[in-house]
Structure formats: C-alpha cells, structure tokens
C-alpha cells in the first residue's frame, strides 16, 4: 500500500480506520463554524426533535455576513442567534464587532494543524493554510451536527500543486491562485483536496497561504492544504487554543494529479466578469474604467494586504469619481492597521474604511453596485449579482492591483504606477 495523503490521515483518524479516496466516513469534527445563517440552522435544529446540542463547545458562531445589521430583518436574525447561543450555552460566540468568520477562526486559534473543521460557508477551505482539514457544508448538515455531532464526508482524491521561484515585485499570492484557477477552471479541482507545496509556498507568509486556501473552493476543491512549517508554528504560538499534532502527507502518497508552477515570471492577474476562472494578465484588461474598488475581505483583508495597498496609495489620491472601500478581515486587523498608521494613509488618500464584516463581498449591504457599474475587488467571487446588482461587472485582483485602480480610475499594471519601495512593502514573512 502506498503512503497516505494528509486528508486520508485526518479522516482516517476520525473514522478510526484506514481510509481510501472515494470512501465515505461518518466523523465528528473538532470545530463546527456557522455565521449569520445560524438562525436558519437553529430553526432546522428545532425540527429534529433534540433539545440540547450534542456538544456546545464544538461550535463557533460569528456574526459577519451583514454586521452590524442593515435593517430590521437582519437585526431580527441576529437577535434570534444571540438567544440561541445563550439558551444552548455556546461560549465561542463572536458578535458583530469581531470580523469575518474565517479570519476569526484563524486569529483566535481554532484553526490548528491536524484538526477537522467544517463550516456552513464555502470559504471554510481557508484553514488548510494552517494544516487543518477544513471544508464547507450546508445548513441542514450543521443542524444535524448540532443534534448528533456527526457528518458524512467523502475521502477526497488529492492533487498537488508545486510552486517554484520567487514572486516579482508587484505580484502576490492572489495572482498565483487566480492564475491556477484560470488554468484549470472552476471545476478543475472538483471534489479534490489541493495541496500547495514547493519553495514559493515555503517563502510565503501565512496570510498568503490563507489566500490560496480560501480560493481553493473557486476551482471546486473540497479543501486546501499547506503543510505546517516554522512559520505556521510561529503564527500559532500564543494563539493555539489547545495542543496539536502536525499531520502531513507521506512522501509516497498517491496524487491524482500533479501540477507545477514557477511564480517567477507571473504577471499580475485579473479575473473578469462573471466567473472566477475567466482570468487574464492585467495587460489584457488595462484601461477598463472602474467605479468602485474593494480592498479587503477574508481573502485579502489582513494586515499585510492593507500594508501593500497603503504603500501604493500613500501620498496619492483616490481618483475623483471612484469609491475605494477598505474592508478589513477582522477588528484585530483594523486595530493593528490603526495603531501602525496604515489606516491614516488610506484615509488621507480618500479611502472609505468599513467595519470588518462580509459587507460588499456578497451584496448584503455596504457598497452595493448600480447597473452598468464596474468594480475591482480583492475578494473571492465575481459572479453576476454578487455585489447586489446583476447588471454590474466585478473584476478580481490583488490588493495592490486594486490600489492602483483606485488611483488611476481604471484597471492598470501596478508596476507602472508604483515605486519599487511601495511594491516592496507589506511582504513581511
């Protein structure tokens, strides 16, 4: 028998037996995350006929999808969740002042190597960046986990993407993941685990790895994964909620497909409307007029992302007629970026600072688009209607590409408008 992949080991350990890809196992996750959809989940839970949660301590609930509430309907939804949390004794509850669920699970030390994490949100794939097995599930499934603790999962086949080289100035992990998604398509990793490895990943910050794993769902992946290293351990030091053991794929593990990328020659990438795999070099869409820029989200709203954007915007102005929204991934990010002066640079350039939540990313509130408008966003989806208007167009790019577009009012190559010093900023390991 050949060696095992990371995913086989995690799911096998939970199932209490050796497992192979394609096998379906019943497992009890370590962490079950839900957000504003917890009210609907709680209502479904109530129909099962079980009074108490199987384990209140496995649940983490974050109010982020429309936070603070935009209107009475959203406010009532939040109210219902707070009452449920109270009644069921859920301690890991993060109210509207916290941030986006995926950043909260990472910052607060829930996302740990070797853990099995499910979330009723597709971007739950993010935590693989820290060596967890994490994947999205549906609302009813979360309700059943509340009642029984259990969920069925299929053991995925694994594809491995080795990344060599060094990013050129002005090119970032976001450009790499857009390039990969563009190459293999929105279903290129369907049902699969995706392992990112190689020197370019070893060099990459934890934040950059989170960007890769966050967007693994955009190519159909079940979960993303980066094997934990010293950077991971340093990041988790003082943050991890409990002891953990790192789980990695065996050297002779079987991969269904292997891809190799050299990031050295990579250009800034842009995803065009209306699919995330509609990707091109920035030069192909340069000159596209932009009405709104969104810098942030759970994909690219961490401190290094804001540093990169602020370095480009510092001392310059958001073009008249362009709205440049800053959407930090969490209030901790907002705090750190306020303390170190980043926010002041962004405000002075004419950016609008939003509170940390999902905001414009999914069109619930804060920055919806009007018919005919175009946006460039550092978030993860550009589907039709995503920012609240089906007659609008959304492009996706790195925070640096977004900052450049905010200055010029059009999609452009950030390397043509930013100094080498500005392009070198925010590349902290």
């Amino acid at each position: 028998m050949s060696g095992q992949t990371f995913s086989q080991k995690i799911l096998g350990a939970k199932a209490g037996k050796a497992v192979v890809p394609g096998e379906i196992v019943d497992v009890i996750p370590d962490v079950a995350m839900s957000h504003d959809n917890t009210a609907a989940i709680a209502r479904t839970f109530a129909t099962i006929g079980v009074d108490r949660l199987y384990d209140p301590d496995m649940h983490v609930i974050v109010l982020d999808h429309c936070a603070p509430a935009a209107n009475e309907k959203f406010a009532t939804n939040h109210q219902e969740i707070r009452a449920f949390v109270e009644a069921q004794g859920i301690e890991s509850f993060y109210d509207v002042a916290s941030g986006v669920c995926h950043q909260i699970l990472v910052e607060q030390g829930f996302a740990l190597p070797g853990r099995l994490i499910v979330g009723s949100d597709s971007h739950t794939t993010s935590y693989g960046a820290l060596g967890a097995f994490s994947t999205g599930i549906g609302r009813s499934e979360m309700a059943v986990i509340m009642a029984t603790g259990k969920i069925w999962l299929r053991v995925p086949e694994t594809m491995r993407i080795d990344c060599d080289g060094r990013f050129a100035a002005g090119v970032y992990p976001k450009d790499l993941i857009l390039k990969i998604i563009g190459d293999i398509g929105a279903d290129g990793a369907l049902y699969r685990a995706v392992e990112f490895d190689g020197p370019a990943i070893a060099d990459m910050s934890v934040s950059g790895r989170l960007t890769l794993c966050n967007m693994t769902i955009e190519m159909g992946g079940k979960n993303g994964y980066v094997h934990p290293d010293q950077k991971t351990l340093d990041f988790l030091n003082g943050r991890a909620r409990e002891n953990f053991e790192t789980v990695t794929s065996d050297p002779d593990a079987e991969y269904i497909e292997r891809l190799r990328y050299d990031v050295s020659g990579l250009e800034p990438q842009i995803a065009r409307p209306h699919t995330v795999d509609n990707v091109c070099d920035v030069s192909e869409v340069a000159g596209t007029r932009i009405d709104q820029v969104v810098i942030g989200s759970c994909t690219n709203g961490r401190l290094d992302d804001l540093h990169q954007a602020a370095a480009i915007l510092e001392g310059r102005e958001v073009k008249n007629g362009v709205r440049c929204l800053i959407l930090p991934a969490s209030s901790d990010v907002t705090r750190a970026a306020t303390q170190d002066g980043t926010m002041l640079k962004l405000i002075d350039a004419g950016c609008l600072i939003l509170n940390a939540n999902c905001g414009p990313c999914m069109g619930n509130h804060e920055g919806a688009l009007a018919p005919g408008e175009k946006a460039l966003s550092s978030a993860n989806r550009n589907f039709k209607g995503r920012m609240g208007c089906k007659e609008a167009e959304i492009f996706l790019g790195s925070p640096a590409s977004c900052a450049a577009a905010a200055i010029t009012g059009e999609i452009c190559d950030v390397r043509e408008i930013a100094s080498p010093e500005a392009l070198a900023a925010g590349l902290e390991a």
Binding site: I24, D36, G138, S140, L190, T275, G363, R381
Partner: protein, 165 residues
C-alpha cells in the same frame, strides 16, 4: 420513488449559486413560495414565472458551484423542479440537493441529448433518463448516502435514525 416526467430547462457550464439564489436574498427571502419566485433570477428571468411541477433542469459541468447556501437546492425544490441533470455537480450543491431530497443525475450523454422544452423522464430507482433520443443509464448514489435521499432528505433521515419518527 415514482419516475418524474417534465419539461427541460437547459443551461450551460458553471451555473453558480449566486445566479440560482442571489446572495442578497439569503437572509431576507425565507418563505418557500417567495424563494421559488426568485429561483434562477439572475440566470433566466423566464424560469420562475413559467416553471411547472416536475420540470427538469439540464446543465453542463459544475452545476451549483460557489456558495454553500442550501437555498441553491431548496429554492429549486420549492419551485417544483423534479430533478437536475448535469455533466457534473459542485460538491456543496450535491450535498445540499441530497439533503433536500432533490434527485440529481450525472450524465454527460443525457445532457447532450436534451434541449430546452424537451420532455424527459427521470427514474431514480431504475437509474435511467428517458429522452426522445433514447434512454441513458446513470450511476446510483453512493451506498452510504442513499438512505438520506430515500428518507426524503437529511432531517427526516436524522429523525428516523434517532428513533424520533
């Protein structure tokens, strides 16, 4: 379950959850009848006003990609859709559909043989799709999850498993 016969609504590859059930409605449109009215709103405005009970959606690869939102599957159930036939499904849509008791058929051949407005019959128990061009077999659901589907979805299945029903 009884075979389902209905009219085909045909779409392309990568039909995503935002065009099936827009994100802006995920917390505001919650009643089944209202959910049915916005199904496929950003893909095909003709669908919701005209869909008939047991009509069948036929689409290309990666149907239901994107969000985990369960309404992607349940709004179709509420709209009366009898089954979805696609070249492939996103894993989250696949799970949500099984959990909602919505029959899914993965068959590249059946997709190629069907056009908008055609009549089609899906027989889940026999594992066949019958079109004017012929009958196509499709693989059954995995053994481990077929019980969920047969019990009418995840919640009734769970109640049964817990001995509540």
């Amino acid at each position: 379950m009884e075979p389902i016969t209905g009219k085909v609504w045909k779409y392309g590859d990568d039909v995503n959850t935002d065009v099936i059930f827009p994100g802006k409605y995920t917390y505001t449109v919650t009643e089944p009848a209202e959910m049915a009215k916005v199904a496929l709103e950003d893909l095909d405005p003709d669908f919701a006003p005209n869909v008939q009970k047991n009509d069948v959606i036929v689409a290309g690869a990666n149907f239901g990609c994107g969000s985990s939102r369960e309404q992607g599957a349940t709004c179709l159930v509420h709209a009366g859709v009898g089954a979805v036939i696609a070249a492939s499904f996103s894993r989250l849509f696949f799970r949500n559909a099984i959990n909602a008791g919505l029959p899914l058929v993965q068959s590249v051949e059946a997709v190629a043989a069907l056009e908008k407005g055609d009549e089609v019959t899906v027989d889940v128990e026999a594992g066949t799709v019958t079109t004017q061009a012929g009958t196509f077999a499709f693989p059954p659901l995995p053994e481990a999850v077929i019980g969920i589907f047969e019990d009418g979805g995840l919640i009734p299945h769970t109640r049964k498993a817990l001995g509540i029903d």
